[in-house]
Symmetry: C2
Subunit: 156 residues, 2 copies
């Protein structure tokens, strides 16, 4: 386990994201790190992150899967660079597509764990599969196609 | 156009949703209504709903598509009941699956418009297709499979 999270390695001008930017005080501040070949994120929902009473809002689940997956894509892309350490992403990824299957209502009183694996890396594209676990049960699965942020969208 | 939105028709105990519950003061307060056969939602992101600087966070886009689609499913299910008026949903839907394609970065300074149509209604399941438009351009598309909230999950 790396003590430094993927998101700690983003430069300040790419750390404004509402989901995972450490420089966004209004945001969710999602954090991700490697545990072996799986990338892990843990998040405890706020009481107001509700859907129907007692269960987590699906949009929050989508947000967690989204940012954890693009973070994992960044970390994996840097891992393929022999000169880079494990949790040292040098490039940022955007989401090209997001697919979430909600298998079971997710209890809001639990800390959620999202575990992601790399399914494919091809050029600037990385496909990340994930599952969201609450109280030992897989409540949702996700698949994100992430693409490296193009040069013309980078902050100057 | 109905002056009453789909979400205005949800009973109070099903109006806690972080995305669209009128009784959740922390939430996004998403509102939807019919314009002919299309259901429309308009939402202006807050400045902190950012991804990379200047563009809307993908998790917010997923949240808007999610709640607008389940609301549209509710309204459509009630429309098929000949005794019901257009925007008068009597049942609430959960998201079984959510798919978002991000076609183009979405500018954060614009009011976003999400336009949804019913693709299929089959028993307790409704499939909703949508597109998200900013400054006249389709920046994302969505498909949601919504299922009627089962009795055992309803508040008592």
């Amino acid at each position: 386990m790396n003590s430094k999270t993927f998101q700690d390695n983003y430069p300040d001008d790419l750390s404004q994201c509402y989901g995972c930017g450490r420089c966004n005080p209004h945001g969710l501040q999602i954090k991700s790190y490697w545990e072996g070949d799986e990338a892990v994120c843990r998040y405890t929902p706020e009481p107001y992150h509700t859907a129907i009473p007692g269960y987590v809002y699906g949009g929050l689940i989508a947000s967690l899967i989204d940012c954890h997956s693009t973070g994992t894509a960044s970390a994996a892309a840097s891992r393929t660079d022999a000169s880079a350490e494990g949790a040292d992403p040098v490039v940022r990824f955007l989401t090209a597509s997001l697919h979430v299957n909600y298998l079971s209502p997710t209890p809001i009183s639990e800390t959620l764990e999202i575990r992601a694996v790399i399914k494919e890396i091809k050029g600037r594209k990385v496909v990340v599969s994930s599952r969201l676990i609450a109280a030992g049960k897989v409540c949702a699965t996700g698949e994100v196609v992430a693409v490296q942020v193009p040069e013309h969208l980078m902050p100057r």
